[in-house]
Symmetry: C2
Amino acid sequence: MEGIRSRRSIRQFKPDDVDDRIIKQIIEMGTWAPSGLNNQPWRFVIVRDEDLRKEIAQQTRYGHIIRNAPVCIAVFLDNAASYDRVKDIQAIGACIQNMLLAIHHLGLGGVWLGEILRNRDKVEKTLQVPEDCELMAVVAIGHPAEAKGEGTRKPIDEVILHRK
Amino acid sequence: MEGIRSRRSIRQFKPDDVDDRIIKQIIEMGTWAPSGLNNQPWRFVIVRDEDLRKEIAQQTRYGHIIRNAPVCIAVFLDNAASYDRVKDIQAIGACIQNMLLAIHHLGLGGVWLGEILRNRDKVEKTLQVPEDCELMAVVAIGHPAEAKGEGTRKPIDEVILHRK
């Protein structure tokens, strides 16, 4: 719970690399999220090559983060494995959260990039994923090179509703 | 990471109660999920009253779980706070995953119920939530009265895609 509470988005990274073994461990943690009927609709592309990162980076105004992170993981919903769009998208969110918690636990930093969905067609084409795969997010990962922000949330009593 | 790996859905509960203080702690953990532009679109209703649980239970074929759990948390997307439907639904999924991990960490058991969305209008009416609030899931919580299942996932190399 301390891990959940202390995790923050990290957008600046040291040049140090992150091993593929670690990246696969992060993805594996993602896959332990629950999904409706255990359909596991998530798919991943590991984006490490610098030229490829530069190409993907052009599709978002947060491209500098993708260019500077040693590795990114592009996360997709496989619509061929889908059974209910809302529940599948929730499952993808749960999967990404597991990945972010794992990244934090491993002493690394990461950020969930969503603005890139605006150009998801181009990213899907660049990454050559099957037609049914729909980009859901890009997670940038590296060794943190910035202090963590404070993190602000609404008071809990503002998000708990009561029957009249 | 051990927590992520060992969490399982728990559907059978002992009659023992779960304190409201604990329930609020679980919800607070949910709210530490990231959301797009930090819009925090999640809302919660704590469903503890037995008659109310029985009424909600009628809206799903998994009603016995809701009837037997001492407490349920109904999770909503507040469409008035929404900025992008896909990203908001992902954020709700991340929030629910945090709640499930917190439940597990606290030695409790829980299950994410989604089939009830089929009758979400009736649940929303029963719980008297604002019109903009859309039911996303019900999380049943209690003290576990069953052994955890094994948990099966696809081999990681089946979900990692490669460029041709």
